[in-house]
Amino acid sequence: MSKVYTWDQLFSRRQFLKGTVATAALGATAGIGLLEPEASMGLSNSPPQSPAKGVKYVTTICEQCVWRCGVIAKVENGVIKTLEGNPNHPNNLGKLCPRGNAGIEAMYSPDRIKFPLIRAGARGSGLWRKASWDEALSYTAEQMNKIKDKYGAKAMMFNSTDNLSQPFFESLLKAYGTPNYGTQRSLCFNSMTTGFLYTYGTPQPGTDYSHCKYMIFTGRNLAEGISNNETQEMIDMVARGVKVVVLDPRFSKTASKATEWLPVRPGADSAFFLAMINVIVAEKLYDKGFVEKYTQGFADLVTEVQEYTPEWAEKKCEISATTIQRIARDFAAAAPAAIAHPNWRTSNFVNSFQTERAIAVLNALVGNWAQPGGLIPDQEMSTAKLGVLSHPPFPLAQGIRLDGVPWKYPMVPLAYGVIQTMRDNILTGKPYEAKGWLISRQNPVLSIPERQKTINALMKLDFVVVIDIQASDTAYYADVILPESYYLERYDGLVPIKNKIFIRQPVIEPLYDTKSSLMIYKELAEKLGLGEFLPYKDELDLLSRQIKPFPVSLEKLKSDGHYEVENFKEDHSKDFEFQTSSGKIEISSSIMAQMNKKAVPTWNEPPRPEVDHYYLLTGKTAQHTQMFTQNNRWLLEVFPVNRAWLHTSVANKIGVKTEDDVVLESEVGKITIKAYVTEGIRPDCIFMVGGFGHVSKGLKSAYGLGASDSALHKTVTDPISGGSSLSETFVTVSKA
């Protein structure tokens, strides 16, 4: 029996490798002469061509969020010194956000999981023993096969959040044969993706910022939810003097850059857009030719929006009728170079699907599809196709899904799922008992509403295995932790973006006994007897087969960081072939009609908080990524803790100042958090950045910092999109 360690004993050595090399550049010495004029500002944003001895540059892909920016890492004597944006990468054009710049800190963090761990005390006790990879993988496979033999493959759930090796995770789950796949999407953008899918047949059209003359954002906070190149484009757009309208109950940093901030009543943005449609229809400001040629259901829309006058909307969304009228007219006048942005994390209310449908239809009415300054059709047609691996056909997944797709949520695509319902049904045991959970780089304990329920669900299972780089809150409750190599230490699947193919590759060898998820999935598959479904020898074998269709060697791809496909032609031949039931843009949705639901965008009254209750709003900050980066000390320097935004009048009423502790309480939980008193929020709302309030003691810097919205959020699900209606939680506030 090997020794049992607490977390602190396992990882107590406070080493920070970077600090041991370092400091050569501290302060400049006077010995360096006057700069040569030509060298004074070379204005080259690429690294020098002939690096100094012991210095090398490696081009790879960032993983501090899901945006996949290009990175050039500078390595000095085997230590990664700095990360810079890759100017050849379209996702970031040479720039890195604060999170991207801070990638090194987490890599050299003492809190890294350095070898496989098997639980050695009660679940969540923090007692572990060190295991070899062979033991950890064999044990995991044994438990997974036991569950499959006894309860069927469906009793095992597989969860993963957007990452480059996700296709291979999906191969593993399909080979195992479970229908239960959990992604983050229902907590994020299900209402947006389903809203656009059922209108245009594509879930996420792009937006042409560079030619746009009028932009309306309603849930796309690019200054704080940084999507690097889009954030840059937004800044340029503002600088060009483009009209930018932001609807947000909170004065976000994007709102501070906009030409107009409209503090909309939460959940009532739907009314704003329906009234814009009302004006555009009534005043015949729409693009008649486009509507006739490419859409269906316009007549039904005309009938539906008749009652949605600006005066009606003013009472709902608390934006004046004249403002709505003015914006509708100006928006139509700027069209087709005008966009009501599809937005991003928009799963806020049960009616958010209708809001997104109204947005989708508004864009269609002004005919901005595939026009300069408008919506950009799906890019997939114009993206280079990688080589694929052949494997035997997957077994048919047996049984219905725990998350209610499609038996409870018929309109939610299988690939999105409804993770909060999956969690609920672990607890109910309906329609059957779940027994095991394989979670790769996802943290449901902090992401799904009602944190305690998620912890209870983990406690109920027979077996939980987590793949991660750090002891996330979910990993802390696991039976086995399989440590993934850090993104600067590993390969992942190749990434094609239009005519370019990018590679993530190790900048340095792994510091510890960790593996890439590509190899973890593959070796686990082998132990499960499913090796033929992930038929590659190692990462390089897989990558060389992915790149095989192109006349480039893997060595060349590695040294350049990307390959540009020659004579690549963008294919726009299908831009106007809409993948909907009717083949047209569906103002009136065929699928909604089939389900006997109102087929055109319609108004559903969102709930309002009772007296002395407030809307609880959550969102992002530019310095952190969801619940993933709060342990990064460089990022804690620039955003140390989340606070509850209270309007001055609310703070005065309960007698608190900024930095005082306040207690927020909802139907399902209670937190203590510091107050931030501001005029930049509606008096009926309280806002907090998500991702803080970690419960894992394995995250030593983040543990106990701030508070988690997951402890307050109620579980409310939109039956159409499956989106978790995160803003239907109301809270009281009091001085702590």
Binding site: M41, P48, F251, P263, A622, Q623, E679
Partner: protein
């Protein structure tokens, strides 16, 4: 004409993301708890819903008349001929006079070296023909650096085209960060 290195910072293009602060920390091994540069926020000004917020990045102003240099008893703090204010570590005795003297609060005592520490304009990068780390990473192209005396530099072109202001002009330090608050739709080509 002599080189005069400095910054132009376009506040209208700053979104307060702090990428410049993290890039500087990585580039210059700045110890936790201290920073060589910053982004200051005005906080939310005005009354709901008529509010605004502005952001002002900054760092050592590489002044024409740097008080940190005149108070330094050992000559460690120096104004170079190219305008960059530096600290010669071997001469610094850690007396902290310069830290107190700086009206911009741009210096700190480095706990790892015991010496005064601050922005070097990434001198080691300039020598390789690279932009300072904060300028290189800035998503908004809000931060620009270069030779203020060279009419072909980006900074000079910006100063020629837009109204600028400096901080604490009345103190007489002659700071070399020029702030532009107006929208700048395009960053000019230049050195």
């Amino acid at each position: 004409m002599a080189i005069r290195m400095g910054f132009v910072i376009i506040t209208s293009r700053c979104i307060d993301c702090d990428a410049c602060m993290v890039a500087c920390r990585a580039e210059n091994d700045v110890p936790l708890g201290h920073t060589r540069n910053w982004v200051k926020s005005s906080g939310v000004l005005g009354q709901f819903p008529k509010v605004r917020e502005v952001f002002q990045p900054g760092n050592c102003m590489h002044c024409d008349h740097p008080p940190c240099v005149s108070v330094c008893p050992t000559g460690a703090s120096q104004k170079r001929a190219d305008g960059i204010v530096i600290i010669e570590n071997s001469k610094c005795i850690g007396c902290k006079y310069c830290i107190v003297a700086c009206p911009y609060d741009a210096r700190f005592a480095n706990p790892e070296t015991g010496k005064a520490d601050k922005c070097t304009l990434c001198l080691h990068r300039l020598e390789q023909g690279l932009e300072p780390a904060c300028v290189q990473t800035c998503l908004g192209k809000s931060r620009q650096a270069g030779d203020l005396n060279d009419p072909d530099s980006i900074v000079s072109k910006l100063i020629a085209k837009y109204p600028t202001r400096v901080l604490l002009k009345q103190v007489g330090t002659g700071p070399n960060i020029y702030y532009i608050d107006e929208p700048v739709s395009e960053i000019p080509e230049g050195k």
